[in-house]
Each structure stands twice: as C-alpha cells, then as structure tokens.
C-alpha cells in the first residue's frame, strides 16, 4: 500500500514539476525573444538597427540573384536636423526621430524592411515589380514626411540603389544609395545657396 502511495505521490509531483519547468521554459523563451528584439532594434524608434539591416541586406542580396522582383534600397536623410538638436535640444530631436520612425513603418508594405541606419539616416529595403516603383514609394514617403515635419522646417533627401543596376553586394547598394542621397541634398542646398551638413 505504501509503495502505491509513494508512486502516486511521485507521479503527481512529477506532473507539477513538469508544469513548473514548462512555465520556466516559457519565461526563458520570452526573455530570449526580448533580448533578441533589443539586440536587433533601435531603442528610440523601434525600427531595425544598423547591424540587423546589414544582416537582412546580406540575405536579401543572396536571394535577389534568383528573384524576378526588383530589390531596391532607399537611403533617406533629414535635412537641417542638426539645427533642431542644436536649437531645441536632443530630447526634442528624439521626439522627431520617433515620429519619422512611425511614418516610415506606416508607409511601407508588410515584408519591406525599415531601419535606422544611424543619427537621422534611415534605410528602406523593398521588393518591387518594376524599377520605377521605388522612386514612387520614396517620393510618397518624402512628401508625407515633409508635410508632417514642415513645422520644424525639415525636408527629406533620398537616394535609391537597385540590385543589379547599381551593384550586387550590400556595400555597393548602401554606398550607391548614400551617394545619390548626398547628391540630391547638395543639389537642393545649391539651389538655396546654403552649406551642406
């Protein structure tokens, strides 16, 4: 009789211990997910961070070789943002960056990638059917952002690189888009007769 009781008791305890292990495992998994999220996202805007963008870009360029779609990289930069930080302080600047992050997330399709590349620089990685589609997307985003940010006298410059046409490696695509963005910015400043930052 005692043996039966002990076996029953052990089985019941085992059930509870299993439940407790599963609970701990769930907590561990949630903690891991949180840590992974923190490691791959920018803490201010909750967009992907630069490291994660580079990892995704590497994977996307490998896939793009065999894809019929167009892989485009849009490099966006906020004009005159330095003046905002200098005039109103970084806290104010951070609020604007958060707002930019929200607009970018709302403006792309599911599956496209938005990342904060650093400071006031953002990157969008998108898959398009035709080569002119990324320009339309970039223009739409630029107009939306400038509409929201006009109060702060902030405009947007961008450059686009297309996989195949402008390069095949992450470095080539980033460098080309960055260069085009800078040319775009320079052009605007020249028109206004201002220095370029």
């Amino acid at each position: 009789m005692r043996e039966e009781i002990k076996i029953r008791l052990l089985l019941n305890i085992f059930e509870e211990v299993t439940r407790k292990y599963e609970e701990l495992l769930r907590v561990y998994e949630e903690m891991n997910e949180f840590l992974e999220y923190k490691a791959s996202h920018d803490s201010l805007t909750n967009l992907y961070n630069r490291d994660e963008l580079e990892r995704i870009l590497k994977a996307e360029t490998m896939k793009a070789k065999y894809s019929k779609n167009v892989l485009a990289l849009i490099f966006l930069d906020l004009d005159n943002f330095k003046a905002i930080n200098d005039t109103y302080g970084h806290r104010y600047g951070d609020e604007i960056l958060k707002k930019v992050g929200e607009i970018l997330k709302e403006s792309v399709r599911k599956g496209d990638v938005v990342a904060r590349y650093g400071g006031d620089e953002f990157v969008i990685l998108l898959h398009a059917k035709k080569e002119d589609e990324p320009v339309n997307v970039a223009e739409r985003i630029k107009l939306r952002m400038e509409e929201v940010l006009k109060l702060y006298n902030i405009s947007v410059s961008y450059g686009i690189a297309i996989y195949g046409r402008d390069g095949t490696t992450p470095e080539e695509l980033l460098s080309t888009a960055d260069k085009k963005m800078y040319e775009n910015k320079l052009e605007k400043k020249k028109l206004k007769g201002q220095a370029v930052f």
Partner: protein, 386 residues
C-alpha cells in the same frame, strides 16, 4: 562514563518503572548511577512520576530529567512506553540541569536573557535542549535565540529535540519534568561537563524541482508562491487520486534555500493543508526560495550512515549515542525505522537513547547559530574525558 538504556511498554507507570529497574539489576553493568534521562509516553499519568521514581530507584528529585515522547528509543528498540538512560560517571564528568518556563510569552519576560546567560556560562559544555511543543512560539523563540547567539558571537554546543506528544485528557502533553517541577510551557537543558562529543545532522531528502519563491507567507504558513499562485492548490495536486492525508506529504518536505548561509538551509515538514494555505512545523521566511524534495528509507539511511562516518572521524569511540529523530522521518523509514538506531549502535558499539521529535534543534552549518530543523536525525556521540 558508563551508560545503559532500558525500556518498557507496560501501560502501568509503576509496573513499567519496576520492569526497567529489574532489567538494570539483572544486567549488573551498573550497581549505582548518577543521573537518569527518561522519555515518557503521553498516555502515562505524570502526577506521581517523581514519587514513583524516588520510591522505585531511591533517587532524589534532581537526579533525573524526564520528558514526553510518543515513541522513544532504547538501543535498537523503539517503544511507545518508557525509555530510561542510566548514567554513571567514571572520571570528572558531571551533569546539571537548567529549566526555563514561559516560552509563549518570551517576548515579555526575561526567559531569553536567563537562557543566554546560562548558555554563555556553559559555552564549552554540551547542552542538550529538550523543549515542549509550543505551537507557533517555539519556532520564533529558536530563531531569536539563533540571532542573539550570532550577535553575541558564541555557539554554546546546543543540540536537542522537541518533546512529542498528543492531546490527552484535554492537554497537549509535551512536558518536561525536573526536580518536582512539571514544565508545561518551557524547556530543560541537560548540561554535560568534561565530555567530548560529535554531532551529526542527517537529512537524506533529494531536491527534485525547480525553485519556487514564497511570495505570501504568514508565520508557519505559505499562501502564495511565485506571485499569485495558490500553494494550497499546488500541494492538493500532489494528493490527487489518494486519500488526502498530510502524512503522505512527509515524503516530500520542502527545502528552504538560503542565499546567505549556503545552498540548503533547512527542511520544512507539512503540518496541515488549510482552507487557503499550507502550514508547516516551523517558520517560513517571507520571500524565501524553496524546492520540493523526496526521500525514501534508502536515501535517509544512506545520509545517516555518512553522518555517522563523519562523527566517528571526529570522536572515534563513544560511551553513549543520542538520536533525536523526527516523527515524520520515522513514517518515511516505514518498516526500516529500527535500522537508523542500528547504524548508530553498530558503528559506535555504544548504547543508544533517543526519541521521535516534533523538531530538532542544532547548529547551522557554520556552527554560529542554532536552528530548528524538521525531518532530520540529529545524532550526538558522547565520551567522558579521561
């Protein structure tokens, strides 16, 4: 020091004592003795204990110390009657007794101060503490005593057990008897002078679960663990499909973990499953971490064997061995309960006296403070100095 231990389970007090006297005389090991330690079942009438002892053994009232025990040990035998250890010193060994009363109101009386003063005077002697069961106060009394000793920076070789008994004739009989006094709310300390001794505290329960945190605790009771989980519900699941007897839970006491004092602090045995809590036999600290454990006769006896080996390394031989072993432990040992006493007597080749306790009192692992243990076998091997 020569010691002999005899027992009787005769239900009549006078006849039981006479039987023990006859055994003593027939053995011829001792012709006379200096002191008697007596474990008495709660069913015996105790009013005439002193009178009977003086008459049958021809002793004075200060030459014995007696206490209640549901079950006592005389060598390898366990009895629900009476066990007596007769002690005769051969060198400079001596025994004396200190008693204290008023545990339930110890915060408002001078009991703790008097006890500390006595223990400081006798810090180099062996002090065997036999207490009554005072429901919740005893645990706090021992905890506070531990804190005071740590504060004063000495450990007075204090070991012992809590008298076991049951409610009989309307009173919970866990009393001590000394010098015509019946101590109903206190304790007695039997102090041995000029003796060497070794102490072993045997557990033998293996941890089997992840760690829980006791997040809602009151005194001896746990209400919730891990922020919001009803501990009573968890424990009730252990008894699923069985008659819900709390004794079954004695196989799986909880092990309190102590970050400050080492991995395992103490075990706590289930006392009852209440409406919204689970009660233990000693205090549970708020926010303590604990694990479930499990023990079998084999793991318990293996642990005792290891402790005996350590004790033997410390003392070599012994004139007598005391075993204060938790009543819950006897339940786990089942039909092998006699083997624990056999291990002590076999390895020390010495007589054994002991009893089933409601808690064991002994040093922590650093020998800095005293603790109330549950479900342990506390062994003390004693040898008179040359």
């Amino acid at each position: 020091m020569k010691v002999v231990v005899y027992s009787s389970d005769n239900p009549v007090l006078r006849l039981a004592l006479e039987e023990i006297k006859r055994k003593l005389e027939e053995s011829k090991v001792l012709t006379d003795f200096d002191f008697m330690i007596i474990a008495l079942n709660y069913r015996y009438p105790y009013e005439n204990l002193d009178k009977n002892l003086r008459k049958i053994f021809g002793i004075n009232s200060e030459d014995y110390f007696a206490f209640h025990a549901t079950e006592s040990f005389a060598n390898v035998n366990a009895t629900e009657g009476i066990s007596v250890a007769f002690i005769k010193f051969e060198n400079k060994g001596k025994v004396k007794v200190f008693t204290g009363e008023g545990i339930t109101d110890y915060k408002n009386n001078k009991l703790m101060d008097k006890l500390l003063e006595y223990l400081e005077e006798n810090r180099n002697n062996l002090n065997i503490f036999i207490s009554g069961w005072h429901d919740v106060e005893l645990g706090y009394f021992i905890e506070d005593l531990g804190k005071e000793l740590e504060k004063r920076g000495f450990y007075p070789n204090l070991v012992g057990g809590v008298s076991s008994g049951k409610v009989f004739d309307g009173e919970l009989r866990t009393f001590q008897f000394y010098n015509k006094k019946i101590i109903k709310d206190g304790f007695g300390i039997i102090t041995f002078e000029n003796v060497d001794f070794a102490i072993g505290i045997s557990l033998g329960f293996k941890p089997i679960s992840p760690v829980y945190r006791a997040t809602k605790v009151k005194g001896y009771q746990i209400y919730e663990v891990d922020h919001g989980k009803n501990f009573k519900e968890i424990v009730s699941k252990f008894l699923k499909g069985m008659e819900p007897r709390v004794e079954y839970l004695w196989y799986c006491p909880i092990i309190l973990l102590d970050d400050k004092e080492g991995y395992v602090s103490v075990q706590r045995t289930y006392k009852s499953i209440n409406e919204d809590s689970v009660e233990f036999f000693a205090p549970i600290p708020q926010d303590c971490k604990f694990m479930l454990s499990f023990g079998s006769p084999e793991t318990l006896l293996e642990s005792t064997q290891k402790e005996i080996e350590k004790m033997k390394q410390n003392i070599g031989t012994a004139d007598v061995v005391f075993n204060f072993s938790c009543i819950a432990r006897q339940y786990i040992l089942e039909d092998r309960r006699g083997e624990e006493n056999l291990l002590y007597t076999y390895h020390f080749d010495a007589p054994l006296f002991g009893f089933s306790t409601y808690g064991e009192i002994g040093p922590d692992k650093f020998r800095k403070k005293v603790k109330l243990y549950n479900e342990t076998s506390l062994g003390i091997a004693i040898k008179e100095r040359e």
